[in-house]
Symmetry: C2
Subunit: 355 residues, 2 copies
């Protein structure tokens, strides 16, 4: 299975000589270690490629005591969150010449243990654990793991562990600030189950932004259901039956927001003229195709993956780190929350000025 | 970074003795090689886990000349197709004690070459290439790779390569047979761009099934656009403007079908009473939440991943294989295509009998 056994393998000296650098420089460029100018590294890598130079990673690993491999323990079968996370992790680790072992545990403890055993046997330098929700989870493998671990969009119950999470409260605050700035005053909330930590965190951020403007979410119009379009549709019927005028709905996900948009449309309520609508996740296949396209909060999952990878590289290099790091969200404004004078909004007098 | 250095490592003899099997049997169970009863393998693995037995994979690799690693070269940033593929691949290779290196090339040639170099340097036993469309692509790394490669939901332009693909023609045939069996006779098609090989293949399957019933798709009502909801909505307006009655629409994707469903609803056409609707992909977040829920074709992507992994294991074991293998699809029937007497369908007389 090895490559080009029939001709002599080029050596690192051949690569160095072709690139016009010292052997030590070539070695640093190929191993990704040391400080080198980008051009130098590129020239060495190009020479190595042209010559077909292939370092023996296994022998290198036995010499260095490191394998330059990382385990990626995932558990999101829909892939909504893990796909961009994996892109970012793969990117940041690849830049450091680390390779990533994919371990899809599907949230199943037995599978996770099986993959963990295989990662330990392969002597990975570290492990990144990703999740599909941000709630506390048991630390991977208990206390005696002996391998650096970082949790990305997953939250270890052990406070000594490193967990990198989106700042859901910040996301909620962005929504509140945006709705206030665009003249909305009577804000309903249609969100997911209360046992998800992100749900009260986003609501707290919204409340904080509204409080700064002397407002609060409409009493009795903070509604919790599941993360589905059908819940969004059902919630609109509840909101309209309560006969409390509202001029904006903040939804816990873009799927919920899609359901809200479709039902408002069916019930003759215009978005954004009568009601502004904001989702969460910025899942393009939903946000961009909703009628009208959805303003949404982006949790920057790919960047979150990159940051988690860099934290792991720090731990592997011996830099002590611990605790929870929360990364800011950003708001992507689309048509569903454009400012507009609303027939349902009693306090819409500021709206025109805000445009 | 290694684990439990402070106590003596258990040996394979300890594992064998605890499991009550011979050392050779324990070795086979731990390496995933040879023919063993499932119970025996499970007992050995359980004993190994309880004892904390960890084989040294690096040393094992240098002895065997194999690394028990496989590269997974992916390029689907949305993750719609690659996520279930990866699950299946990870599953089937994990059962053979193979670990998977994740390489997300994002369809970029430079990134693909970078990852390929790193896989070669790590002396992987084989590589699986996945795609986000089934059209021909250049073989990975050209002719001289010297490492077994299998293409999964990707189609190597080299006919000597092994490509595992869904049988799109079969998918189209299933749709035609289902629509005919449920009494539909006047079938329009709203699908994706003609330069996707899957598009004419699915249409060919539909035509074959209709021909068996003496039918054909409605002339002038096979419409090509992009893979989007907005195209689905636009296509409905085209279909209705042509004033040719139709009693079914076969869509090239569930996203297109969602757009068709929404626009038919807006235009007062009832699904499935007036028009049956069938999508493709069985992407649950769309298919299950469309009003009404969508009948769709499932390409069994997870199983496709498993088959691709098994073909790669065959190649690694020296079994010669080549060419394209197409796996059957299955139809998932939901409310959007329930049989019904249609006001638009002149030949609906068989419908009641079919229920």
């Amino acid at each position: 299975m090895s490559v080009s056994d029939s001709r002599p393998r080029p050596t690192i000296s051949d690569v160095a000589s072709k690139a016009g650098v010292a052997i030590g420089t070539a070695s640093k460029a190929l191993s990704g270690s040391g400080q080198l100018r980008a051009e130098t590294r590129e020239r060495v890598l190009a020479s190595a490629r042209e010559l077909g130079y292939q370092p023996n990673s296994l022998a290198k690993s036995l010499q260095s005591g490191r394998t330059y491999t990382v385990g990626l323990m995932t558990s999101d079968s829909v892939g909504r969150f893990n796909q961009p996370l994996m892109l970012g992790i793969n990117d940041a680790l690849g830049a450091g010449r680390m390779s990533v072992f994919l371990c899809d545990a599907r949230g199943d403890g037995v599978r996770e243990q099986y993959f963990l055993d295989s990662l330990i046997a392969r002597q990975v330098d570290g492990i990144i654990v990703t999740g599909w929700r941000t709630d506390h989870r048991p630390p991977l493998g208990g206390d005696r793991l002996g391998v650096p671990v970082v949790y990305a969009y997953a939250h270890s119950a052990d406070p000594a562990d490193v967990s990198v999470l989106p700042d859901d409260e910040h996301g909620g605050r962005l929504v509140g600030e945006h709705l206030v700035a665009t003249g909305r005053r009577r804000i309903a909330v249609v969100t997911g189950p209360v046992d998800y930590e992100a749900v009260p965190q986003r609501e707290a951020g919204l409340r904080a932004a509204l409080a700064d403007a002397g407002l609060e979410p409409l009493p009795g119009q903070v509604l919790h259901g599941d993360w589905s379009e059908s819940w969004g549709r059902e919630a609109v019927d509840i909101l309209l039956s309560q006969q409390t005028a509202f001029d904006a709905v903040f939804c816990g996900s873009d799927q919920i927001a899609r359901g809200v948009a479709d039902q408002l449309r069916d019930r003759g309520v215009k978005v954004p003229t009568d009601v502004a609508l904001v989702g969460f996740d910025n899942w393009e296949v939903f946000a961009e195709t909703t009628r009208p396209p959805l303003t949404s909060i982006d949790m920057n999952m790919e960047e979150l993956g990159r940051v988690a990878a860099r934290r792991l590289l720090d731990l592997i290099d011996g830099t002590p780190r611990s605790g929870v790091e929360r990364l800011p969200c950003r708001i992507v404004v689309r048509e569903s929350s454009r400012p507009s004078v609303s027939s349902l909004a009693p306090s819409a007098d500021e709206t025109a000025a805000t445009v």
